[in-house]
């Protein structure tokens, strides 16, 4: 399947979804006005990937700031990954956050509590 790479802008994060290299990352800032429009491609890609995933999928999230609508889209991504996990695939979500950013740590904890998938909090 084709890899998906979206370069970052001042309002959208960098997205690397590379099944060949096993790199799945969303990093940067996410404050687009049309979050669903931006994340549609990501969700579609994961949906396609989930049909025949790698032995292990480690998905890295390292966001410095994101708006509420992006948060809902992130939850949709997590749900897809959770579904993969429930279908017997090995999936790990790594939530990287600035060690000084308590809010981002708390957000990670919120997601962790909400999901039934290995969810690691990684302070950096």
């Amino acid at each position: 399947m084709r890899n998906l790479v979206i370069e970052p802008t001042s309002k959208t994060p960098k997205v690397i979804l590379n099944a060949d290299l096993g790199v799945f990352e969303i990093t940067g800032r996410s404050i687009p006005e049309d979050a669903i429009g931006f994340y549609r491609r990501v969700l579609d890609w994961i949906e396609e990937y989930s049909k025949s995933p790698l032995t292990e999928t480690v998905f890295k999230f390292q966001l410095e700031y994101f708006n509420t609508s992006s948060s809902k889209c992130l939850l949709d991504i997590f749900r897809k990954l959770e579904r993969m996990h429930k279908n017997g695939h090995k999936v790990v979500i790594r939530w990287h956050y600035d060690a000084d950013d308590e809010d981002m740590a708390e957000t990670g904890q919120d997601y962790q509590a909400l999901l039934d998938v290995p969810f690691e909090l990684v302070p950096v």
């Binding site: 979050a35 669903i36 708006n67 509420t68 609508s69 809902k72 889209c73 919120d110 909400l114």
Partner: protein, 153 residues
């Protein structure tokens, strides 16, 4: 589907299906029980999502408020700095005006002094000229003049 609804597309679709099922009303008790169980499950899930999103939105608002307060403080500090700079500028402008006036006065005095020097130089040249003339070209009259001055004649 509006933008607001598209963020909850799955939930909206589920709700629509549940409503259609309720309107049909042809299900068995067991089917109703299952559908109701699923509805509860979805409702719980949605409630958790809403709780998370509400919490995050509150955090973001708090961050924004903090940023707004900091901006307000910086704005005040900048305003007071600008006021100080404006006062400093006014003082400097006054000083420049004063210095310009002093310079004009100095130029006037220099001009007067230059004129006086020119007059003195002209007088001196005249005296020296006359002296040299009588000394070299009209020596007799010079001797008579010196004798007259000394009272020898």
């Amino acid at each position: 589907m509006s933008t607001k609804e598209s963020y909850f597309a799955e939930e909206t679709t589920f709700l629509l299906e549940a409503r259609q099922r309720a309107e049909k009303g042809q299900s068995t008790t067991e089917e109703w029980r299952q559908a109701y169980g699923l509805l509860i499950e979805k409702y719980e899930e949605l409630l958790k999502v809403v709780q998370v999103l509400t919490h995050q939105a509150t955090q973001l608002e708090a961050k924004l408020e903090k940023a707004r307060t900091q901006l307000e403080i910086q704005k005040k500090a900048l305003s007071s700095e600008v006021e100080g700079l404006e006062r400093q500028l006014q003082v400097q402008q006054k000083e420049i005006t004063k210095k310009a006036q002093e310079r004009d006065i100095l130029y006037d005095r220099m001009s007067q002094t230059r004129m006086m020097l020119l007059v003195i130089l002209a007088v001196l040249l005249l005296v020296v000229g006359f002296t040299l003339y009588y000394l070299f070209w009209d020596t007799d009259r010079m001797i008579q003049f010196v004798k007259k001055v000394r009272g020898l004649e």
